[in-house]
């Protein structure tokens, strides 16, 4: 796959929520190996932008393209190349960490349990693989979602507040994960209140109120 086919274009996107004009013509370009850090006060549509980029939310105006084609046309291909982490951990509390990964990563690509365990180990929660998510702490849950992102082996990461609930070590781990992902030619769109400091240059995108 050429670098060009992994380019995300968000072009003049407008989203209305009732009477509110949440996104007012937001544009961004994300090439392979690049990261954009979406910043802004609460309620400026950061999460909305991420949902639009993922294809969950269709904008009233504007377009989102993957490799130059509208994401609606290349839906399956785009979703296979995409790892989305919402603000909620999106884990089933009755399933174990490993089962949670098996049933979400497994839908994207056929994956062996050993590989999922490895991802959990990389995220520092190998011990939580066989525990129901119910008994995990908020930080451990966040790490399980990090393992899910890793295991998806996606080209594009869309992360909504990924540093929430992580301890210092966890935050460093996530930074390393992002660095490694960019080094391998992946790209990322990150919504975060914290400063994101990486080896690669982080392009900021400020959403105003």
């Amino acid at each position: 796959m050429s670098a060009h086919s992994k380019r995300l274009d968000v072009d003049q996107v407008h989203v209305f929520r009732g009477d509110r004009h949440v996104l007012q013509g937001v544009s961004l370009k994300l090439e392979a190996g690049e990261i954009v850090h979406v910043r802004g006060p609460n309620g400026t549509g950061k999460t909305t932008l991420l949902r639009v980029a993922s294809g969950l939310l269709r904008p009233e105006q504007g377009s989102v393209r993957w490799g130059g084609r509208a994401i609606g046309e290349v839906r399956a291909e785009y979703q296979a190349a995409l790892a989305y982490a919402s603000h909620e951990p999106a884990l089933k509390s009755d399933l174990t960490g490993l089962e949670n990964l098996r049933f979400t990563v497994g839908l994207k690509r056929s994956v062996a349990d050993a590989e999922l365990r490895e991802a959990l180990e990389q995220a520092g929660v190998a011990g939580c693989a066989d525990l129901p998510v119910r008994v995990l702490s908020a930080g451990q849950r966040r790490r399980v979602t990090m393992a899910r992102i890793l295991a998806m082996r996606a080209a594009l990461w869309l992360l909504d507040e990924p540093f929430t609930n992580l301890d210092t070590v966890g935050g460093q781990l996530l930074t390393q994960m992002l660095d490694e992902h960019l080094r391998q030619g992946g790209s990322a769109l990150v919504v975060a209140h914290q400063a994101v400091t990486l080896k690669a240059s982080v392009r900021p995108l400020d959403l105003a109120a």
Partner: protein
């Protein structure tokens, strides 16, 4: 390497069943409701066999209908609330596959389970053993149809905070033909007559909803996700 639709369907089905069996209380709730309602009726009415036999198809079907509806509200709600529905929607599989797997799994743990315990209930309601096969077949077709109808209602109401009342209002009128023809089939089987007409009608409804309801439920769910 993406996985095929068949593999995705089986994985999703396993996920649903796994989740159901981790919550035995929720799993057994409709079944217990069905058993309680149907066994209370003979106690409240009268133990007179002829009266009981006359009432039993109606009692059986009303109880089955309400028991299935009881668990319908949670079909998409849990996944929508904890954010896993978004993960499923972005999994690269079509949302339709997710809807089909979830609805079918719901039928397996509610409808099919209800069909399996129905002979027990039927004995309490003085339904003769000869009528069991027709009764079970009609219940199987009826509950499957109801699961599909319920999926549409659940998809429409999942975004609402108090959607369960609305869900009943949407689904119950659509379920009336099921109640009428289902009870009729059971009634005829008890009387030793041919129930073919009613069964064919139930089967037609089942095929109709199985083919169209996934489309409607998927469309409803997609609106909710936005």
């Amino acid at each position: 390497m993406s996985i095929g639709t068949g593999a995705a369907l089986s994985l999703l089905l396993r996920r649903e069943l796994c989740l159901s069996f981790r919550r035995p209380d929720q799993l057994l709730q409709p079944l217990v409701f069905f058993l309680i309602v149907t066994t209370l009726f003979p106690l409240a009415l009268s133990p007179e066999l002829t009266l009981l036999r006359e009432m039993s198809p109606g009692v059986l079907w009303v109880a089955a209908l309400l028991a299935s509806l009881l668990s319908m509200d949670g079909l998409f709600r849990g996944d929508a609330e904890d954010g896993t529905l978004e993960q499923l929607a972005l999994s690269g599989q079509s949302l339709g596959v997710v809807v089909v797997a979830k609805t079918f799994a719901h039928w397996l743990v509610s409808g099919a389970a209800l069909v399996l315990v129905s002979p027990l209930v039927a004995t309490a309601l003085a339904i003769p053993v000869e009528a069991f096969p027709i009764m079970m077949l009609s219940l199987a077709l009826g509950t499957l149809t109801l699961s599909w109808l319920g999926a549409i209602g659940a998809g429409l109401t999942v975004g609402l905070r108090r959607g369960s009342v609305l869900l009943s209002l949407i689904v119950l009128p659509l379920a009336m033909p099921l109640l009428i023809f289902g009870a009729n089939a059971t009634d005829r089987a008890i009387g030793g007559e041919s129930a073919a007409g009613a069964l064919y009608f139930l089967a037609a409804l089942c095929v109709f909803t199985s083919s169209l309801a996934p489309l409607a439920a998927t469309a409803a769910l997609r609106i909710t996700l936005e």
